[in-house]
Each structure stands twice: as structure tokens, then as C-alpha cells.
């Protein structure tokens, strides 16, 4: 909570640093006391059925103390008036990584992603030991894919979509409902055998989930695309919430808040991962391990994410992709050049939604269970934060941002050692969203344009030059 107050001290040769710094820190400390006083200083507790107050003066003192001394320290060091201001401008390290080192970085990251399960297995000494890391890899890749999908809508077309989770939900429920549907199962059982649907449902439903989500993207997108930025954001948010509320309340169709369980698991193109004689392990002559399925899932999501990246890179170099970016730059100019902005926006919305649907289908098959709880606004906010932190429009930035964010969130879950400091009641996972929210604000203040802010041109005559982020607009519709 660093509150910036105007520096009144003149930059004279021998500045009395300590005095003003102390005064400023004192003011900030008092503000912190006011902000934290009620909520940290007191705790509402229920005693014998009635609400009472508990007092936490020491905690309050610690918090205010941290802020006071932190501010004092900063005032004396980093923000000291005697310190020469940094003159470094121009492209950041990440910008350079995105452009100059780009040709080398991308294959290296790709190779790492492909080899990741092997690395995990060897470094941790066994399939089962590596489960946690590979699960984390799957989670990160899911968010990489969602980030890339939303990037089409937000980063390329400049349409702020706060309801992206709706398409994730549509994809997940498409698979969950179709795969657990008894009539469909019976239908295929009659044709191809009893286990056909259980074994093939994922591969048949995957494209359908994408198509459904794309169609939903168009249905939801069509009425709202005339709206300008903030309004579009709010309406997409409203749609996302409506879909979640309908999933909760339409119990006959979706089983409501209880969700849908026992969704058929992924198969190796029709071969189930089980210990039976027709299972994956038996057919390939391997000892059975539940990890086969997990490793396979890792490669499925890797393939899906790469498909997203490939299609996006290709589309950017096609007229439709250039029209998306032109739309972000200047919608009116687009219209003056004969571009139908409604269909162009819809195509961006539908394409982004389609990838969200794929990712949703994958989510359902991985978890084997879906419920409306997985599709709250927080997920939309998380994906949006990944896109923005990555630098809107940058593939590599989004991938790095997804890894950092999801990895960071996971780490918070495992800060068990903090219990030794704060006592056994301390639950670090409670602080995940708190820190996430704070990080979102901090990232915006620190780097509003994200890690990679330069834009890579889609075509060039002589030389590919990156476009500085200052020139790239963020869209207004």
C-alpha cells in the first residue's frame, strides 16, 4: 500500500533526507492504521450464537509497522531525492526476448514443453513421483491455451471480453453431458459395441465442444458487438454470469450445483487406460500405471495449445487476422475500407470461443467432474490477467505469463513452512486470491502493457521490424 505523496523536498546538494522521509512514512503509517484498523484490529466472531468482537492489536501493529518501516526504507533508499532518476528507456528485456531472441527462444520453449514429462520423470526418479509436476504442467498448459484463445479476442481484435469463462463452461458441459448421456451410449452400444461411446466420446466430442462454443460465441457476440469497450466488457461479464447461474439453477438439465460426475476418461484413441487385457498398458506391454493417462493428457493439452498457437499465427497473416488488428487500431478506418466490422468482430469472438470450448472439453475429461463452481468470474479474470500481463497480442508473453501466474498460484498452495511462522491455523491457500488480486493491481501499475509490448508485423518487404508498443492501440470497441 505505497501511497505516493508529492515530493516537496527540493533537490539541493545536501538534502535532509531523514526528516521528510520520516514525516512522510508517519503519514502513510497513519493512513494504513485507518485502512487496516477496523478490519484487522477487530475480528467479528460468533460466541455462543451471538456476534462479538475479538481484538488483534498486535497483528494490526505488525501490519502498520511493516508499512511504516517499509515506506521509510523506500524513502531513504529508492525514492530518496538524492538518487538519480533512472534514464533507461526503450525496449525492455522481455521485448528483446520477444523479438531479437525470438527465433531461438520459441524452439527452446517448445522443446522444453515436449520433453517436460521426461525431465520430470527422470529428475524425480519415477512415474508416480512426477505426478505432481506433470499435473502442474497440464494446468499451466490449459491456461496457456485459454490465454492464447482469449488473446485473439482481446489482444488482436481489441474486444474486452470478461465472460470468456462461459465458453470454457460450454465446452466442458458439452462433453460432460454428451459423454454421460445414456441414450447416446445405448445408440452406439447397439452399433459398435458396449464400450464404444465410453472409449471414443472424448475424441468425438472434442470438435463438437469447440463448434458449440464457437456458435455460442456468435450468439452472445452478435447483439453486443456494437458496444464500445467498457460496455462490451460488462455485458460479456453479465453473459458469463448468466450462463453460470443457469447451470446452477437448471437442475434437470445440468444437475445444478452438484455437478456432473463420472465422466468417461480420456482414452488412447479408443484404447482405455486401465489394467484390463484391452487396456493401454497390456497392449503396449507395459506394467500398468495410472500415470500413463496423466502423461497422455499432458500431450493432449500440449497438442491443443500448439494447435491454438499455430492457427493464431496463421490467421494473423491472413486478411481476417489483419482485419482484427486493424479493427483494434481504428474501427472507423476499417469501415471506410469496406471491412464489415460486425462479421470481423464475430469471427474473432467465435474463434476465441472455439478454443475456449476445446480447453473446456479437455478440462472435463481431465477432471472427470464438472460443476458450475469451476466457471466463476475469477477464472475469467485470471485468463484476462494472463493475457494482459503477457502483453496483448504476444504469444510468447502470454505463455510466460501463464507459467508465472499459475506456477505462482500453485506455489502459494504449498507454502507449508509458513505454518511454522504463523501457527497451525494459517492456511496459505486462503491467501492465493488475495495475492492474485494485489498482483493484478501491481502489474498494471508497474507494466500496463505487459511483458512483451512490441508488436510483430505480419508481412514485410525488406526487414521485419518490431512495432513499438506505444504506437499499438488497445481497441475501443
Amino acid at each position: 500500500m505505497a501511497v505516493q505523496t508529492a515530493d516537496t523536498a527540493p533537490p539541493a546538494a545536501a538534502n535532509p533526507v531523514l526528516g521528510p522521509a520520516f514525516k512522510d512514512a508517519l503519514i502513510v503509517g497513519l493512513i494504513a492504521l485507518g485502512l487496516f484498523g477496523p478490519l484487522i484490529g477487530f475480528e467479528t466472531v460468533i460466541i455462543d450464537g451471538a456476534l462479538g468482537l475479538a481484538y488483534r492489536p498486535s497483528l494490526l501493529a505488525i501490519m502498520v509497522g511493516i508499512i511504516f518501516f517499509g515506506r521509510l526504507l523506500l524513502n531513504v533508499t529508492l525514492w530518496s531525492p538524492n538518487r538519480k532518476p533512472s534514464t533507461h528507456t526503450g525496449p525492455t528485456l522481455f521485448d528483446r526476448a520477444g523479438t531479437v531472441m525470438g527465433p531461438g527462444v520459441k524452439p527452446a520453449l517448445l522443446a522444453f514443453a515436449v520433453l517436460f514429462p521426461a525431465i520430470a520423470i527422470f529428475s524425480l526418479g519415477g512415474l508416480n513421483e512426477s505426478r505432481y509436476l506433470i499435473d502442474l504442467g497440464i494446468l499451466i498448459l490449459t491456461y496457456v491455451m485459454l490465454g492464447w484463445g482469449l488473446n485473439i479476442v482481446v489482444g488482436l481484435a481489441g474486444l474486452l471480453d470478461l465472460g470468456y469463462v462461459a465458453f470454457y463452461a460450454v465446452g466442458a458441459y458439452t462433453y460432460a453431458l454428451l459423454a454421460t448421456s445414456a441414450p447416446i451410449n445405448d445408440f452406439f452400444a447397439g452399433l459398435f459395441g458396449a464400450t464404444f461411446w465410453a472409449n471414443w466420446a472424448f475424441w468425438i466430442c472434442l470438435p463438437m465442444a469447440g463448434i458449440f462454443a464457437g456458435v455460442w460465441g456468435m450468439i452472445l457476440g452478435f447483439p453486443v458487438l456494437r458496444l464500445r469497450g467498457d460496455y462490451l466488457a460488462i455485458v460479456t461479464l453479465a453473459f458469463g454470469e448468466i450462463i453460470r447461474l443457469v447451470l446452477i439453477n437448471w437442475v434437470d438439465f445440468t444437475n445444478g450445483g452438484a455437478g456432473i460426475a463420472s465422466i468417461p476418461r480420456a482414452t488412447f484413441f479408443g484404447i482405455p487406460f486401465n489394467a484390463g487385457p484391452d487396456g493401454f498398458a497390456a497392449l503396449f506391454g507395459l506394467p500398468f500405471s495410472p500415470m500413463h493417462r496423466i502423461v497422455f493428457l499432458y500431450f493432449v493439452i500440449l497438442a491443443l495449445a500448439l494447435l491454438t498457437a499455430f492457427v493464431t499465427v496463421r490467421l494473423r497473416r491472413l486478411p481476417v487476422g489483419r482485419a482484427w488488428e486493424a479493427l483494434r487500431e481504428d474501427e472507423i478506418a476499417c469501415r471506410s475500407l469496406g471491412i464489415n466490422t460486425t462479421t470481423t468482430k464475430l469471427s474473432a469472438f467465435a474463434t476465441g470461443a472455439m478454443f475456449g470450448g476445446f480447453a473446456g472439453c479437455f478440462f472435463a475429461v481431465r477432471a472427470g467432474f464438472v460443476s458450475p463452481e469451476s466457471f466463476t468470474f475469477d477464472v475469467s479474470a485470471m485468463i484476462l490477467a494472463i493475457v494482459v500481463l503477457g502483453g496483448m497480442g504476444s504469444q510468447i508473453g502470454v505463455a510466460v505469463a501463464a507459467a508465472v501466474m499459475m506456477g505462482g498460484m500453485e506455489m502459494l498452495r504449498n507454502l507449508g513452512f509458513l505454518k511454522q511462522i504463523f501457527g497451525n491455523d494459517f492456511d496459505p491457500s486462503l491467501y492465493r486470491m488475495l495475492i492474485f488480486g494485489f498482483a493484478m493491481v501491481a502489474i498494471m501499475v508497474w507494466k500496463p502493457r505487459g511483458l512483451v509490448s512490441t508488436r510483430d508485423p505480419t508481412i514485410f518487404l525488406k526487414e521485419r521490424k518490431a512495432v513499438s508498443g506505444d504506437l499499438v492501440k488497445e481497441g475501443h470497441g
Binding site: M1, A2, V3, Q4, G34, L35, G37, P38, L39, I40, F42, E43, T44, V45, I46, A50, L51, G52, L53, L160, L162, P223, V224, R226, L227, G229, D230, Y231, A233, I234, V235, L237, A238, F239, E241, I242, L245, N249, I332, D378, A381, L384, A385, V388, L430, Y431, M433, L434, F436, G437, F438, A439, M440, V441, M444, V445, P448, R449, E474, H476
Partner: protein
């Protein structure tokens, strides 16, 4: 008929609270053109501040007069919530002024998540109930089986809302602060050139918005007798809907929109389905923005080519 009148009273009460929150949205949008996503959570925090203050006043200080207690709670909640919103603007929005357009909005979303979880961490995830206060009601109609009642707390809510709006209206229309504020809405750069302290004016806008949200939070606590960390998001979106429905940027519009949303929600719950009442509110938001983006009392926008 009796049910209808009862729902009308309930709807107007709820609508008053929404209207108070909506003003915060509409003023901030008017002056810096951003949807202050965290405003709903500021409202929620204010309810907690009111709750803590209420417990302090009644249990620790032993004040028995409910009206005196309420007055103290109201003032304290307004002060602390104003300080909070002032600090939020300072930390999360001001550094982003003039930055690219999505930045403050995303910052506000982050702030909203932060506030909700801050309250969850410090006060726990459970509902915090207080014993019902001011339980007296006035029976307006009685047909033997159904009583139409007007609770005193409903009267208090409507009276306080009306009084505050009157004062607030005066502030914006007649004082130099209000003039500065309207000037900043029209053209921030020009206002600055004419000697208006724009930062100061914007800060004050946040402070006023927060103070009204704090009144709403206190009244909400008094009316429903419960506070929860998750109670910021949905009332926030509904109040934003109210601001949009009334015409964003328009103060009377925000109040009108709030009353309408309150009425729609209560009637929807009474006559259709209570499960889908939030869906109804969100749908109204979408429908308004799609078909009538200028709202009921807003000015239509002409696209500049």
C-alpha cells in the same frame, strides 16, 4: 393487491440502496470514464466497518439508544470507507491515468478481488449476523390473512436516501466543488488549464462515492442483519446495471435506475422465480446496453468521424 403493495414497498427499499451505490459508479464513470469495478466491494467493506462499529458501540460502549448508535455507525462507516476509496484511487487508478484504456479497468478488477479476499482472510468466510434491530412495523392494510406492513427501518432507509440525495444534488449543482466536477467531466485538460485541481476533484469524487456506498452498506446491514465477504460482487453489478439503466453519467438517472432495478428484482422474485432473480438483473443489464446504451436519462452519443 396486498402482495403487490408489499412488494412495491420492499422493492423501493432495496432500490434506494442500489441507487446509493449506483451514484458511485455513475460519478466515477462520468469523471474519468472508467467502470470502477471495485465499487461493489467497497460497499461490502463498508458493511463490515459498520458491523464492527455497531458491535463496538452497542457491546463495548454500551449505548442503548438504537438511533444514536445508528448515527455513530453511519458517520464512522462513511469516514473509514471514504479513506479506503481515496487510498484505492491513489494506489490503483491514479498511476494509470492517461495510460492505455484497459489498464485502470483491469486494475479495478484486481482491486475488487483483493478487497473481497482481504475481508475473507481477516473476518472469515462465514455470514456475520447481528440481532434484528428496529423491528416495529406499521400495518398499512390487513385483509385478515395478509398484512401489508411498512417497517420502520424501511422508512429510515427511504428517508435517509432521500435526504442524502437532496444534499448531494445541491453539492453537485450549486457548489464550486460540483462545478469543478462537472468541468472535469466535460474536458479534464481544459479544466486543469483553468486552474481546477483535477487530481483533487477526482479524489473527492471517489470520496463522495464511497461515502454514499457506506451509507448503503450501513443501511444494508441494518435491513438484512447480515454481512458476508462475497456480498460485494452481485449488488455491485446490480448497482452498475442501475447506473446504466438510468443513463450512465446522470445522477438522477442512477437513482431512478436503482429504484427500477430494486422493483424489478422484488417483483421478479415474488411472481416468477427467486432462483433466477440475478439472471433477471444481469439480463436487464445486457438488454439495456444493447438496445438503449444511453439509458433512460442519459444523452445519446453521436459517433465522431
Amino acid at each position: 393487491m396486498e402482495i403487490f403493495v408489499q412488494q412495491l414497498i420492499n422493492g423501493l427499499t432495496l432500490g434506494s440502496i442500489y441507487g446509493l451505490i449506483a451514484i458511485g459508479y455513475t460519478m466515477v464513470f462520468g469523471i474519468i470514464g472508467m467502470v470502477n469495478f471495485a465499487h461493489g466491494d467497497v460497499f461490502m467493506v463498508s458493511a463490515f466497518i459498520a458491523l464492527i462499529c455497531f458491535l463496538l458501540v452497542t457491546t463495548v460502549m454500551g449505548i442503548t439508544s438504537i438511533f444514536l448508535a445508528l448515527a455513530i455507525v453511519l458517520v464512522v462507516a462513511m469516514v473509514f470507507t471514504s479513506l479506503l476509496n481515496w487510498a484505492i484511487e491513489r494506489v490503483a487508478y491514479r498511476p494509470l491515468r492517461g495510460s492505455f484504456r484497459l489498464a485502470p479497468m483491469i486494475s479495478a478488477i484486481g482491486m475488487s478481488i483483493f478487497l473481497a479476499n482481504f475481508v475473507q482472510v481477516t473476518q472469515g468466510p462465514r455470514n456475520k449476523p447481528i440481532p434484528p434491530m428496529i423491528t416495529d412495523v406499521i400495518v398499512l392494510m390487513d385483509n385478515g390473512s395478509y398484512q401489508v406492513t411498512l417497517a420502520w427501518k424501511q422508512v429510515i432507509i427511504m428517508v435517509i436516501t432521500a435526504a442524502l440525495l437532496g444534499g448531494f444534488w445541491y453539492l453537485v449543482q450549486k457548489t464550486s466543488l460540483g462545478r469543478a466536477q462537472r468541468a472535469c467531466e466535460q474536458d479534464r485538460k481544459m479544466a486543469a488549464l483553468l486552474g481546477i485541481n483535477v487530481d483533487h476533484t477526482i479524489s473527492l469524487t471517489f470520496v463522495i462515492g464511497a461515502a454514499l456506498a457506506a451509507v448503503a452498506g450501513t443501511l444494508y446491514l441494518m435491513y438484512y442483519g447480515v454481512a458476508n465477504f462475497a456480498d460485494g460482487f452481485v449488488p455491485g453489478v446490480k448497482a452498475f446495471t442501475a447506473a446504466v439503466l438510468g443513463g450512465i453519467g446522470s445522477l438522477p438517472g442512477a437513482v431512478l435506475g436503482g429504484l427500477l432495478i430494486g422493483l424489478i428484482e422484488t417483483f421478479w422474485s415474488a411472481y416468477f422465480s427467486i432462483e433466477y432473480k440475478d439472471v433477471a438483473a444481469f439480463s436487464i443489464l445486457a438488454i439495456t446496453l444493447i438496445f438503449m446504451p444511453q439509458g433512460l436519462l442519459g444523452r445519446p452519443e453521436v459517433e465522431k468521424v
